[in-house]
């Protein structure tokens, strides 16, 4: 019995390795489009991998995809909240005098003047518009558009109905079209 258990553990680890190998690059792309920063995206994917293994490694393999997706989305959301708090401090007024080191800290791409110019580019505008979508709409859009999942697969990953996915997608596309008005000819 003991050897069988050991074989089971090895098999589970191999299965997890294969699962993570299959999703890591796509997860990184989704994280990158959600955060706009490669380092933050890398951290999010690494954290999601570790958390899945440590906390849900014993779950049936069929449960891993939605669990991993949910963990990643929560991690990205938490990262977004931290960014918001940091931005608040970065933008806080400071007393006159020497330049505040906090103020000189490079903010997100959209706040830097050099990148503001680049916003005129339709592609950048699209990326910014995607990041500005409400979380569930962005989630549905990226799972369909970047991960190329079907509506049914997206619904399973998001743990909601296909109708909800279609609604999220419809709203996301409407919002993106509005955001891209004026960039269509670029």
């Amino acid at each position: 019995m003991v050897p069988a258990r050991k074989k089971g553990v090895a098999g589970r680890k191999q299965a997890l390795d294969m699962f993570l190998a299959g999703v890591e690059a796509r997860a990184f792309r989704i994280a990158l489009l959600s955060t706009g920063e490669r380092e933050e995206a890398m951290d999010a994917v690494q954290d999601a991998m570790m958390r899945l293994a440590q906390r849900y490694g014993g779950r049936p393999e069929g449960e891993w995809p939605p669990l991993f997706h949910r963990i990643l989305q929560n991690r990205l959301r938490d990262g977004g909240r931290r960014q918001t708090v940091r931005r608040r401090y970065v933008q806080a007024p400071v007393d006159q005098g020497a330049p505040d080191p906090v103020m000189s800290y490079p903010g997100p791409a959209v706040q830097r003047p050099d990148r503001q110019v680049a916003l005129a580019d339709a592609g950048v505008a699209l990326e910014v518009a995607v990041r500005a979508l409400p979380a569930r709409q962005r989630e549905a859009f990226l799972l369909r558009a970047i991960d190329e999942n079907s509506v049914a697969a997206t619904a399973r990953l998001m743990e909601c109905s296909e109708g909800s996915v279609k609604t999220h997608l419809h709203r996301a596309i409407t919002a993106l079209r509005v955001a891209l008005e004026g960039h269509e000819n670029e």
């Binding site: 991998m49 293994a53 014993g58 990326e127 596309i173």
Partner: protein, 130 residues
Amino acid sequence: MSDFDTDRAVIDLGARLRDRLEPLDELELARLRAARSSAVDAMSVPVVASQSAIPFGVAAALLVTVVVGLVSLEPRSSEVVVVSPVPIPEPEVLLGPEDLEFLGDLEFYAWLEMQAEADAEAEDDTVTDG
């Protein structure tokens, strides 16, 4: 906007976004591989393959039965002298190899039950995650 229009827009915008994405460089790929390896090493795996063999309730009842049986076989000071002149051997001696293996299994089922409780707690966490 129909579902068809939405799908076309999703495909079109997805293609534009994918074109903009720079591919992962070697360093990033290596970091992902290292993270995956660390995650797999850190994986905690209670293997539940034999969980369905015997329900926990039955296993617990059997465990109680065996324990009660073993206790009843233990010599009491007065009974040993009066009832049985033959010394009662150790409980392990009374049990055959299959029984010992069964006892080992029962310990494993008890461990699985603890894992199930841990899973239930983890499930609560999942709800929180959601």
